[in-house]
Symmetry: C3
Subunit: 116 residues, 3 copies
């Protein structure tokens, strides 16, 4: 019994946890992985927007974003979508590195923390 | 002088830091790396259980888990141990990606944050 | 409008965010990437020192450090600089793994959180 709220729980992990005034997401991947990096990035950012909105937050309140690309050669393609989406007056800190992901279809995974 | 408690300090890093009501572990690796992924995962989760217990917390209060596998081909083998261990009513958010680790013997490294 | 302070903002990301009494940096890379791992590590730690000082904090109050090396073979060379720099009575938790970084010139990237 603690004051932790968990959203979209499977037996393995939650997609979101909320404690006090902070929200943390899982490493979010594309809902349809049979798409290119730009589309996967857009899907993930849509998912993040939905989780933020459901918690009374929004992208202007993101603190940190960690991005893993299955290949760093997709860096610019990811950034084109990111740059259009991010609140350019209130961008989070960010770290983006290359790592292979759970399935070879996944080209990008994003994990954020935010204030709610 | 700050209100940060540190556990298992070497001159390079702490294994745990506690600030206010939050605990953060280092990237924990296996105590005996001459073992397979399943055994290394079990050892790491045992270590995490001990650190949580020593701080008056437990696995139901983990907020986030970041897992690095030296090869993503070990994903299912790690998950078999993880799924047995995790509190399936209170699972953390999680991100699991592939990265080579400090020693080639290490097949998995896990870092968590939790409420105490 | 939230109580988040952001430092060195570009339209893509901030280099530092501060919320309540916590500071989070971006994944910091070398100011001059045309240098070896030791020099890049020193540059990054200098940058971190400056951000901490500007926020009224210092390296004794770092909670977590995540380090990505473009090649894990640079682990010892990085550690020589890290070990000289870190507050050995108050070291953070740390996780260091291998990931390729945004530019092949970057050999190391460090992201920290600290209490201010």
């Amino acid at each position: 019994m603690s004051d932790i709220k968990r959203i979209d729980i499977s037996s393995r992990m939650s997609q979101v946890v909320i404690h006090e005034n902070k929200l943390f997401t899982a490493g979010i991947v594309a809902s349809d992985p049979n798409t290119d990096v730009a589309a996967q990035t857009g899907q993930i950012l849509d998912t993040i927007d939905r989780y933020l909105a459901a918690s009374g937050s929004d992208k202007s309140k993101i603190l940190t974003a960690n991005i893993w690309l299955s290949s760093i050669k997709h860096y610019e393609e990811m950034n084109e979508v990111w740059d259009t989406w991010v609140d350019e007056s209130n961008p989070p800190v960010r770290a983006c590195v290359e790592s292979r992901l759970a399935s070879p279809k996944y080209k990008i995974e994003i994990q954020i923390s935010a204030v709610i």
